[in-house]
Symmetry: C2
Subunit: 120 residues, 2 copies
């Protein structure tokens, strides 16, 4: 039983990222060096799942540096590494972002209702 492998094109399709972005993430160390067959990348299901996870965090606004730290942390074997602390800190940032966006939504709703009643 061999693990299924996916060519770049398919990895891109499955993750929703461009080929360039996939290569960029690899260069930046967000994904371990992808296995090559005949020089071309061959993504494992694990690679794709990991990239999907990165993509999710990326969509939430985390920067590349954060993702790199995240990657390094989860891959580290050092028990002294404060994984939970790091993860909690990121989560707090995200909660703050939600709060900021919620505030903005409130502002928009306020404007919307003002225009609605103005118009009649």
């Amino acid at each position: 039983m061999t693990t299924a492998l996916f060519p770049p094109r398919e990895a891109a399709a499955q993750t929703g990222l461009s080929l360039d972005t996939l290569r960029y993430y690899e260069r930046e160390g967000l994904v371990g060096p992808i296995r090559r067959t005949a020089g071309r990348r061959a993504y494992t299901e694990g690679d794709i799942a990991w990239i999907g996870l990165l993509s999710c965090l990326r969509d939430a606004g985390l920067g590349i540096a954060d993702l790199r730290a995240f990657t390094a942390l989860l891959h580290s074997v050092d028990p002294a590494v404060d994984r939970v602390g790091f993860l909690r800190a990121r989560r707090e940032e995200l909660r703050d972002r939600v709060a900021a966006i919620t505030a903005a939504i409130t502002v928009l709703d306020h404007k919307i209702s003002r225009f609605e009643e103005e118009h009649g």
Copy 2:
């Protein structure tokens, strides 16, 4: 009764933006041309309130182009302009962002609990 006016430094302090950013926003048409006294900007309370509002939307992730559109829209006298439609569209974008962030928080929580139980 004259409206209170604020020098740039104070406008920056009150809005939390830098002097450069205040000038930048003005150049970009996000705030109407600020009144000048002896060549220097003098921000009215209204200016500052408007900038605060922009800043709120900016913090939520709206881009400069969106803010410019927002500004133009709210300042437009043309009754044919679909203000409410625009505002609702922005709000939907923000709701989507919240959803994305919420998903990421779930992912982080998942990782956090995994490490917590692993560590004991």
